[in-house]
């Protein structure tokens, strides 16, 4: 009986699950809009960075958010981290609210969430040694000297920056790209967080190192039972990292499902196009053209009416797709898609 009631409302279900303490992060109807101003004070519209996104992340679960540049992936991360202010919606982390809080009241969150940035060199202060970079968060969170030493050794060991002593006095520019990214990961886990948020952590690295870094993150995630939100534009790396995948297009989450489903039976026309566009290294590629929709993603200042993909969609239904925004449908268990084809 209880389960039936739970199914009747998503909100109720998530509360029930939260009570079971399985949910680490819950995002409901999140909107992050940025106001545009003309001459600094006249309202000139909004950029809809994130426009109505809901999902849940279980404890120790890894999810991947895939989307093109400008689809709102990074804004979503920044909102979750409390770095951008949501316009509407609810975010709860471990049962505590994040949205609408003042930055100074979010200190608890900073120790709970680690952030792995896209460009490792840009994320590391060039004038600090490795030792100082890793010590910084520990000083902020007021740990004593002994504990600091222990945490630093532990974290560096974990990301395989060994022998630790050789690295401590180095500056970021003396490390290779892969080592820099390891250092960023070490900094992200040094406070023993329960969640890691990674914004394209491997896109700046060479192909031969990418897999190594992804595997390292996977190992750390499993060892510490961390929740991970991994943001990428590279769908082919997803299956080595997470179980679930969310596809974003023009500030909306158009498809949410497991990695296997997305590769074998993608439902949303955008996801289908994305899969078609990604080559595997095969010599036959040279002779064949890829059948993909032309055009560009819409402007987020003035998005099209109805489904945001309809101007490029090969299966567009006149009078429906260009008029009404599709709600979320569940055509298969645990496979959610925002597309009228599946109503």
């Amino acid at each position: 009986m209880c389960t039936e009631m739970a199914r009747s409302s998503v909100g109720y279900m998530s509360e029930a699950r939260e009570m079971e303490n399985n949910i680490l992060l819950s995002v409901k109807g999140l909107q992050t809009w940025f106001e545009l101003k003309r001459w600094g004070f006249l309202h000139a519209g909004f950029v809809r960075g994130v426009d109505g996104i809901s999902f849940e992340l279980g404890k120790g679960e890894a999810v991947t958010v895939v989307g093109e540049s400008g689809s709102g992936k990074t804004t979503l991360l920044r909102t979750i981290l409390g770095l951008a202010r949501p316009t509407a919606g609810k975010i709860t982390f471990n049962g505590r609210r994040i949205e609408g809080q003042h930055a100074s009241d979010l200190a608890w969150l900073r120790s709970q969430v680690g952030f792995v940035q896209q460009d490792p060199y840009g994320a590391l202060a060039p004038f600090m040694t490795v030792d100082r970079i890793l010590r910084e968060p520990l000083i902020v969170h007021k740990m004593n000297e002994e504990e600091q030493e222990q945490r630093i050794t532990e974290a560096m060991d974990e990301v395989r920056l060994i022998p630790v002593k050789d690295f401590l006095s180095k500056y970021p520019h003396m490390l290779s790209g892969g080592q820099q990214q390891r250092l960023v990961i070490a900094r992200a886990i040094i406070l023993h967080p329960s969640m890691i948020v990674a914004d394209e952590p491997v896109s700046m690295l060479d192909a031969s190192v990418r897999v190594e870094i992804l595997e390292l993150m996977r190992k750390i995630q499993q060892a510490h039972n961390l929740g991970v939100v991994y943001v990428t534009h590279d769908l082919s790396s997803v299956r080595y990292f997470s179980e679930r995948v969310f596809i974003m297009y023009a500030a909306k989450m158009v498809e949410k499902t497991t990695v296997r489903e997305v590769v074998q039976s993608p439902l949303h026309p955008y996801t289908q196009a994305l899969l078609k566009a990604i080559p595997d290294p095969e010599p036959e590629n040279a002779g064949r053209f890829r059948d993909i929709p032309i055009g560009e993603p819409p402007s987020l200042i003035n998005p099209p009416e109805g489904c945001r993909f309809h101007p490029r969609c090969p299966h567009v239904i006149k009078g429906l797709c260009d008029a009404d925004m599709p709600p979320e449908f569940e055509p298969a268990p645990d496979h959610f898609v925002e597309c009228w084809l599946y109503q």
């Binding site: 060479d206 192909a207 031969s208 299956r239 290294p281």
Partner: protein, 341 residues
């Protein structure tokens, strides 16, 4: 500016395919090209003794990790060199003519952009923001009075059509275009002087997946219709397969393997190429990707012998000496494992 829109464009295909000096030999022959740079710490050996041939009608992909000398090789071919060059030698034959013997002025006038053009990395951000696109794209033709203005703009319209940009964009500025359109404009610029060889240096790496696939479609179409030769430089192995008949794999400034696309993407020869292929994550076929332990050697002071030996799982005694290029089947490989063919 002239405005005869309904004038019938000249067919460009035949103009492109054959120069008067089209010989029976290879289109491009590169022999022992060496390019060293001076840096504060010493001499950086960016390209070391690279030799290869490219036949007419073939497209070549050059792959390798960042810092392996791919871009330096391209710049050496096009003689687009920075000031700190320490050594620049070797021979480069284009249709049988040794273009290394040309003076800088002759090279600029007769080779660069006229015979060989280039789309360089992140070029879409290098468009001039205050000059209209049409003017910028036509510029190579207006230089040295190569053609008159009218003809140059007619030609600009043709290349815009080829790369798939609406003709109205001729009168627009770069900031009005999306990234994909800007990249197409850059490709149009590389095509305008009817070159026989276009070097594409990471032409799509800054673009989104769908835009990238669209640009690759456009390039394939250009390759088929204009019978152009491409040299396609990228670190993205999966994308490189989109435009390759042959593949060159570089490691630490040296060419380590030159194979047909068929061979390279299925069953590469050099241990480095094998590892590189194994590290590519694939979407459709499940295989566990591997990674290469260690790092490529510094080009300031590369190790004696085979440069990959330190990271190679198949190394043996012989690897202490530098291997020459061995011929194996229809490819060449710089590895002692193939000493006996």
């Amino acid at each position: 500016m002239m405005r005869k829109l309904n004038q019938k464009p000249k067919p460009i295909a035949d103009a492109t395919a054959a120069g008067p000096e089209k010989a029976s030999g290879p289109l491009l022959k590169v022999e022992d090209v060496v390019l060293y740079f001076t840096a504060t710490q010493g001499v950086v050996r960016a390209v070391e003794g690279v030799s290869f041939e490219l036949a007419h009608g073939q497209s070549l992909a050059i792959v390798g990790e960042s810092g392996c000398g791919k871009t330096s090789l391209a710049r050496a071919i096009l003689r687009l060199l920075p000031r700190n060059v320490a050594t620049y030698e070797g021979r480069i034959f284009l249709n049988g003519t040794d273009i290394m013997k040309f003076s800088d002025e002759r090279f600029r006038r007769d080779v660069r952009w006229v015979k060989i053009s280039m789309v360089s990395q992140a070029a879409m951000n290098s468009l001039n923001p205050v000059i209209k696109l049409g003017q910028q794209v036509a510029e190579p033709l207006l230089l040295d009075n190569r053609t008159d203005k009218k003809e140059a703009f007619e030609r600009a319209r043709q290349v815009f059509r080829i790369v798939g940009i609406p003709l109205a964009f001729l009168d627009r500025y770069a900031f009005e275009l999306s990234g994909g359109m800007r990249q197409r404009a850059i490709i149009a610029m590389a095509l305008i002087a009817n070159p026989i060889l276009v070097i594409l240096d990471e032409p799509t790496s800054a673009l989104d997946v769908l835009t990238q696939a669209n640009i690759m479609n456009a390039l394939k179409k250009i390759k088929q219709e204009l019978r152009l030769n491409f040299i396609f430089i990228t670190h993205d192995i999966a994308t490189s397969s989109e435009l390759a008949d042959e593949v060159i794999c570089m490691y630490a400034g040296q060419l380590v393997e030159h194979s047909t696309a068929d061979r390279f993407y299925r069953d590469p020869l050099h241990p480095y190429a094998q590892k590189l292929m194994a590290s590519v994550p694939t979407l459709r076929v499940y295989k566990k990707p591997e990674f290469i332990t260690g790092q490529p050697p510094s080009l300031l002071n590369p190790p004696e012998g085979c440069r990959f030996a330190d990271r190679c799982t198949k190394r043996f005694e012989r690897c202490r000496e530098e291997p020459p290029l061995f011929v194996h089947g229809d490819g060449t490989v710089k590895c002692w494992l193939y000493e006996r063919g």
